[in-house]
Amino acid sequence: MLSVLRTIWMVLLHSFRKRDTVLYPEVKPYLPPRYRGRIVLTRDPDGAERCVACNLCSVACPVDCISVIKGEDETGRWYPDTFQINFSRCIYCGFCEEACPTYAIQLTPDFEMGEFDRQKMVYEKSDLTISGVGKRPGYNYYRVAGMAVGGKDKGEAVSESEPVDIKTLLP
């Protein structure tokens, strides 16, 4: 019985506590830089698109909300013809970001994407692409990868050795 009275008194004392609620639209909560929100497609330091339309993100996505159609330019470099993310299905798990070999797709600390029309939740490539490098400054996939694309042959990447001639035994 006494413990009940004590509880009542202690609850009453909560009248003078600070409230925990963050009054959201007026007070914006702090979101850490690695918060998983709206997805963007970044560019490499040279300003070119990073995405190579490998579809790894699309495969990794547990809700299948990324749709990529591959394109190819005259030098043989792949790029996405279309890149759509259906944000009404996205669960912001970040698997796409982990799967991406080029750091093209990244999640950002922004969640204010509400829409009245569900169709508007499908973001096209032009909606997704940003002009900067996002969370990965200084990374350029083609400068470190052993892929031959226009203007760069095998063995010419950063800290890459000349390709080995596999048809000879000489060192």
Binding site: M10, V11, D20, T21
Partner: protein, 326 residues
Amino acid sequence: MMIGVSDSTFFSALWQGAETIIILLAVVIASALLIWLERRLLGLWQDRYGPNRVGPFGLLQVVADMIKIFFKEDWIPPFADKAVFIIAPAVIMLTTLLTFAVVPFTETIDVVNLNIGLLFVLAMSSLGVYAVILGGWSSDNKYAMLGGLRTAAQMISYEVFMGLALLGVVMLAGSFNLHTIVESQAGLWNVLTQFPSFVIFLIAGCAEIHRAPFDLPEAEQELTAGFHTEYSGMKFGMFFVGEYAGIVLISSLITVLFFGGWLGPVLPGIVWFLIKTMFFIIFFVLLRAATFRPRYDQLMSFGWKVLLPIALANIALTAAAVVATS
């Protein structure tokens, strides 16, 4: 002269009617606003805000909720007992509002000055139980049924000592008339002389209006919503507002029976009445924020083994005191 007499009776009847309607509206509006007050206070005690968006301090939240609930589909389950299902929510409003008829807000503001006022209150509160039992039974839903059963169990455990607790007050005042009871407290409030019966009435009142900690009939966690599981739309709204009208009722009854009703220095009577009633309304909300719900067998054994003996002892002592002093 004949005309004069009939004129004055006509006007007094008109005034009586207007007064009744004003009290009715005030009670219903106050109960609706209580929904807002309760949510804000619960928020305060749980370190959050509660509704604070619609209108100043979120006051218009009630209006928004009302509009919403009026436009909800008013669904009657095909397996329900239709007539009873419809009557049940009306009963709870009816009995609660009828009880307000005998509550003296001040010396002059009341609907009727009934000489068996307190008996009327007890009768109506017993009838109010029907709303819950019938609502639960007619829904033909096991959660609702269990809720109704619990109400019955709860009722037989608190109605007895609720009546017995009030006997002490009646003995001191020598009357069932609520006006006389208030006036008898001019020197000393009943809460001082009748403290045990005040505590018992507080507990019983809480059980009467199915408020936490005695909200066994609705018990969201175990019975989804208990007796009103199947209710939707305005029928649910009636149960809801009925519950809050019940809080106002029990608070004003506590004020009248134990805290000297409208009596108080300086301020006009109605202000005193409202202050005291408000205090208990807030106390009921605090109870809800702070207490847990007992099992209904615990409630029954607490009622019969603890509160009933206390109530009886209180009656005996009061009777002895009354005899000794007269």
